[in-house]
């Protein structure tokens, strides 16, 4: 972040795009996919939906969206082709947990100071297919930037690639090391923003502003086929 002096100057915000796939069919539009198809939650337990996971056991997740008609339409449209899933996306709630494909999760390590647990995950996707090979990172701790600078400066970069930073008493954001963002960009991860305006890179301003969103906006697709090919409008 541009206004930081220590290790945090090497970090950038984690901002994710939401997906919107709306296809015209005759006079109507079918919304095949929206952001809630890729916002993950486990089965409710004791009347509540967990947002933090401990890594003690594997869990199954499904998207927040529950629309039987959309499921039917998706299945009919996709046929036997598996639905393209994001390699990185948030779990439902206050963004305490992030779902990652093992392709990218396996390369990320965390110092225990960061308080991150890893939970093996299976996804039931929007077509009700079971998809394995995912991991949920749960960030149990939130750090002030002062604490990061004082405590993590001596931790190797490879063990602090993602940090959850406190903005206000109730709001936090994720910072990702530039090297990891570069790696993801080179690997073709399209779900993230890689360019930022100066305002987004001024951490103290973000703290003072008090309101923050990790959303980078929408990626819209004119058809499901375009979405599968990742062909933006």
């Amino acid at each position: 972040m541009l206004d930081m002096q220590g290790i945090l100057k090497e970090y950038r915000p984690l901002q994710m795009f939401s997906v919107d796939v709306c296809e015209k069919s005759g006079d109507e539009y079918i919304e095949y996919l929206n952001e809630y198809n890729f916002t993950w939650q486990p089965e409710p337990k004791d009347g509540g939906i967990a947002q933090l996971f401990t890594g003690e056991e594997p869990l199954t997740f499904h998207g927040k969206r529950s629309d039987p008609l959309a499921v039917k339409a998706l299945k009919a449209k996709l046929g036997n082709n598996p639905l393209r899933l994001p390699v990185i996306s948030f779990c439902w709630g206050q963004e305490q947990s992030i779902m990652l494909s093992n392709k990218i999760a396996d390369d990320i390590y965390f110092s225990p100071i960061l308080g991150v647990t890893r939970t093996p995950a299976t996804i039931i996707d929007a077509t009700k297919q079971t998809r394995s090979g995912y991991t949920v990172f749960s960030f149990h701790k939130v750090f002030s930037y002062a604490r990061v600078e004082s405590r993590l400066a001596d931790v190797p970069v490879a063990q602090r690639l993602m940090i959850r930073i406190q903005l206000t008493a109730h709001k936090s954001m994720y910072l990702v090391h530039q090297s990891l963002l570069t790696r993801w960009q080179a690997a073709g991860v399209t779900e993230l923003a890689y360019d930022f305006d100066n305002q987004s890179l001024n951490l103290k301003q973000l703290i003072k502003k008090g309101s923050y969103t990790s959303s980078a906006g929408y990626q819209t697709f004119d058809s499901l086929a375009d979405y599968q090919k990742c062909k933006l409008t």
């Binding site: 305490q96 308080g115 004082s150």
Partner: protein
């Protein structure tokens, strides 16, 4: 008889789980567990009887075990009480031993928790009443009779303790034994469990090294600490205080931030983990910051045992502080919350550090060179946020400001505040400026604070007042000029208040009533003006200006009690009044700068002392009673500007202490009954319907709720008429395959083309109801007329000019007497309550007549009478000198001993008999 596996049965019963899942986030039904020897059919009959009595609809009972059923019931406390009382009476009359446990579900909690507590409640009920049918009712909506949930949470923790027995190998979890058997095994095998626990190495160590006996809370947290990295050294440090330097030098404390508190607790100290989860009260896994926020709650028991004790005081304090050292480092050296700071530094009973030693031990050194560090900035943001709800503040806000000022003078620099031009900034500045004055500080920051306040105060005040005027009103020029011109004295504030009062918008609850103290929107609890008023007060404490003096004088004249409360709250604890006698003195001393009138000050003290200072309250009562009539009248100018609940209680208490005193507000019963009847008035359709018998009246309901069998085509007839005035209902007559339209609405007529009703509700009559019977009612009196009839009849009856029968005959169709209660939902609290009128009426016949109205419903009236008789009885024993005034206000029915209950029952019987002669045989109403 109690099924030990009951909760387990519930967890596995699909019908139960379905019912729990169906509960929405606003649903708060009562869970009713019934254990009875009655057969299911008989139970069904009993509940049908109870439901009829309570006029409620019920769902089916869920059979859990041969003798145990579950029911979820929606309804208010009073309805539920009638339901279960009546159901139990039915079963008792049929000699069926029955226990009923009723637990209200709080929608902010988990249904599974409520069910578990309901099971615990039933188990306890049976255990305590093996030979008698009984009901246990736990309903948080009845705050006066709510046993609370503390005991159930404690039972949960017992369950947690039982699960703590460690299994060293990874095994499949075994089926849980029932709660009851776990509790029994805990109680009866305590000796064995104690022996097992004391074999644990950390407890052996504790017994050997501690200079005081182990307590439960230490035992609970011991494995958590012992199994941390270098846990044996940490535990030794906690027990003895030794090797603290070594721990720090080797970074053993610092590196505790490698551990996740909740996960570690779950794995090594399940009982402590349960305590964390209960304190954090989250449905999922607790986040570390949540544990940080609730640490004082998590350690409440521990701090009670280690800080609030005289025995081995220093050793215990030291032990507690060392445990905090560990958690401070576990939680990334984040400073503790306000509650822990106060506990360690400020609370007289528990303080063991001064600010400097606290800062050294529990506030991290600055690592980045900021004028305000992140935590201080956040604290400032939170302060400013909290000051916006100025109506809910208390002394703690001053403590927070003081604490921040001790950390750094920079917090007093408004240039570091991210100013947005809001009134909370001016208030904070004024409070800091007053503190500067008190501490004799005057630097560039003081100057900046002064500028910030004075720059915008007048314009903010004028803008705020102008925004809360009656529609189409403007601020009178005389008021504006008076506030603006600096050279005017604050002598005619009262006259200005009169001018302002005429144009200020009133709160809705005050628009239809006459009151000595109007309630203005400008001073409503959510109004921003409170911030400006408080700013004037604090600015004036720093250095009075003519503006602040004029504003305070004006509002002391316009709304003295609200203004005084605005100032006093900063000297008080939210629930306990003035924090210390010194602060109380400071507050009253601060008022000497303003002309607070004697009546207003007297009234303020009455209001305060009613809640917090009985001794002084008695002095005030005596001072009032012993005054000359002119002085009494003078004081009443202030007293009658209090809320009715306050002044009614005051005058009632004056009467209690001096039975010769005549209650001055006795004439208000008319206004009070108008408010009661506002809730009890029947709508046009109900009034119409009450003229028919149960057999003649098939339906009176909203159009969209009409029962399926009546959803028939509607046909006009030659006889169809139109109501002579605007109405929102239609009268129909059932004819097997269609409905005849008898009376249509003139303003919402039946749509003949679409066959569509445009009204809100319908009255559907049986086929044998004649046209004559229907049309004789077509000239239904409008609401205003009905209201007048009720008021006139009421006054005639209360003054003894007509009988109850005459009164009822005149009003029975207009009033739903089921609504009568001492606590009506939605009742306008600014009108006053009927109970003090009843209690202090010295004319026994008139008193009985007042009671007779409230108790006139054949079913609910009994419960209202019970409540009234309790109050009459308490006044009786107070007058006999058996209880103090304090006790008179505090005693509830459950506090009465057997002898008192017998006496109360006698009074109830006597009053019931007296009422029976008044009520006579009333006319039956549908």
């Amino acid at each position: 008889m109690f099924n030990e596996n009951l909760y387990s049965i519930c967890q596995n019963d699909p019908e139960v789980q379905q019912a729990l899942k169906a509960l929405g986030s606003y649903d708060n039904p009562c869970f009713v567990l019934v254990c009875s020897k009655a057969k299911r059919q008989q139970l069904h009959s009993a509940f049908t009887y109870g439901a009829t009595y309570a006029e409620m609809a019920l769902t089916e009972l869920i059979a859990l075990a041969p003798n145990t059923q579950l029911l979820l019931v929606e309804g208010e406390y009073s309805e539920i009480k009638i339901l279960v009382d009546a159901t139990l009476e039915y079963l008792k009359e049929n000699n069926q031993l029955t226990w009923m446990a009723v637990f209200r579900h709080n929608p902010i909690g988990q249904p599974s928790d409520t069910l578990r507590w309901n099971v615990t409640q039933l188990q306890q009920l049976i255990a305590d009443n093996r030979l008698h049918s009984r009901i246990a009712l736990n309903d948080y909506t009845d705050r006066q009779n709510w046993p609370g949930i503390k005991q159930y949470r404690e039972y949960d923790q017992v369950e947690g303790n039982e699960q703590k027995r460690p299994s060293q190998t990874a095994e499949q979890p075994k089926a849980k034994p029932s709660l009851f058997s776990r509790m029994l095994s805990k109680i009866f095998s305590h000796a064995a469990s104690t022996e097992n626990e004391h074999e644990a190495p950390y407890l052996q160590q504790a017994n050997a090294l501690l200079t005081f006996p182990l307590n439960d809370e230490l035992i609970e947290v011991a494995p958590f600490i012992y199994y941390l990295p270098a846990g044996d050294k940490l535990w030794h440090y906690v027990l003895t205080g030794e090797n603290g330097d070594t721990l720090r030098e080797q970074d053993l404390l610092l590196n505790l931030d490698h551990v996740l508190v909740a996960l570690h607790a779950k794995q090594h100290a399940p009982a402590f983990f349960q305590r964390i989860c209960c304190a954090v009260a989250t449905s999922g896994f607790p986040e570390q910051s949540e544990i940080q926020d609730m640490l004082d709650c998590i350690f409440e028991g521990l701090s009670d045992k280690l800080l609030k004790t005289q025995e081995s005081h220093q050793q215990k304090q030291g032990c507690y502080l060392r445990i905090l050292d560990i958690f401070y480092h576990l939680l990334d050296q984040t400073p503790f919350n306000e509650a822990i700071y106060e506990q360690l530094v400020e609370d007289e009973d528990t303080a063991c550090l001064n600010f400097e030693t606290y800062k050294q031990r529990f506030i991290p050194p600055e690592s980045v060179n900021d004028e305000l560090n992140v935590r201080q900035e956040q604290a400032m943001t939170e302060l400013l946020d909290d000051l916006e709800s100025v109506h809910g503040l208390d002394y703690s806000i001053l403590k927070r400001i003081t604490r921040l000022r001790s950390e750094t003078r920079n917090v007093c620099d408004p240039n570091l505040w991210q100013l947005q031009g809001n009134p909370n900034e001016g208030l904070l500045a004024a409070m800091m400026l007053a503190m500067d004055k008190h501490e004799n500080v005057h630097d560039q920051h003081s100057q900046a604070l002064l500028q910030l306040i004075d720059q915008h105060l007048l314009s903010a005040i004028l803008d705020n007042i102008s925004a809360e005027l009656k529609p189409k009103s403007t601020l009178p020029k005389v008021v504006k000029v008076w506030l603006e011109q600096a050279d005017l004295e604050a002598v005619n504030a009262k006259q200005i208040a009169v001018e302002l009062s005429a144009c200020l918008e009133l709160e809705n609850s005050h628009k239809q009533i006459q009151s000595a103290q109007p309630k203005y929107e400008l001073l409503s609890s959510i109004s921003d003006f409170h911030m400006l008023l408080a700013t004037c007060y604090w600015r004036s404490l720093a250095n009075p200006t003519s503006l602040t003096q004029r504003v305070i004088a004006l509002f002391l004249a316009l709304a003295p009690q609200v203004t005084l409360s605005n100032f006093a709250q900063f000297y008080c604890n939210r629930y306990n009044g003035f924090v210390t006698p010194r602060l109380q003195q400071d507050f009253y001393q601060s008022l000497q700068h303003y002309n607070v009138s004697e009546p207003d000050l007297f009234a303020f003290k009455v209001r305060y002392c009613q809640q917090y200072d009985m001794a002084e309250y008695l002095v005030l009562i005596a001072a009032y009673f012993q005054s000359e009539p002119a002085q009494r009248q003078y004081l009443e100018q202030g007293i009658l500007r209090l809320r009715p609940i306050c002044y009614q209680q005051f005058f009632a208490d004056v009467w209690r202490m001096n039975p010769s005193y005549i209650f001055t507000s006795a004439h208000e019963y008319v206004d009070i009954f108008q408010e009661i009847h506002r809730h009890a008035l029947r709508c046009d359709d109900e009034v119409f319907a009450t003229h028919f018998t149960k057999e003649q009246l098939l339906c009176v309901d909203y159009v969209e709720s009409i029962a399926k069998q009546y959803q028939l085509p509607i046909k006009l007839t030659a006889a169809t008429r139109v109501m002579p005035r605007d109405t929102n209902f239609t009268v129909l007559r059932y004819q097997k395959d269609h409905l005849e339209l008898l009376i249509d609405s003139p303003n919402r007529p039946f749509d003949r083309n679409e066959g569509f009703l445009n009204v809100l509700s319908v009255v559907i009559l049986a086929p044998d109801v004649t046209d004559k019977a229907v049309f004789s009612l077509i000239d239904l009196p409008p609401l205003e007329t009905r209201n007048e009839v009720i008021t006139q009849s009421l006054t005639q009856y209360i003054t003894g000019n007509i009988t109850f029968s005459d009164y009822q005959h005149a009003t029975k169709n207009y009033i739903d007497s089921k609504v009568y209660s001492l606590d009506i939902e939605g009742y306008n609290r600014d009108v006053g309550n009927i109970l003090p009128i009843i209690l202090t009426t010295q004319d026994a016949a008139k008193q009985l007549r007042l009671i007779s109205i409230l108790t006139s419903h054949p079913v609910r009236g009994k419960y209202v009478l019970n409540d009234i008789c309790l109050e009459l009885y308490l006044d009786k024993i107070f007058q006999a000198g058996h209880i103090t005034l304090d006790e008179r206000h505090a005693i509830r029915r459950k506090d009465l001993n057997d002898a008192a209950r017998k006496e109360l029952a006698t009074l109830q019987k006597k009053t019931t008999k007296q009422l029976a002669t008044l009520h006579g045989v009333g006319d039956a109403i549908c």
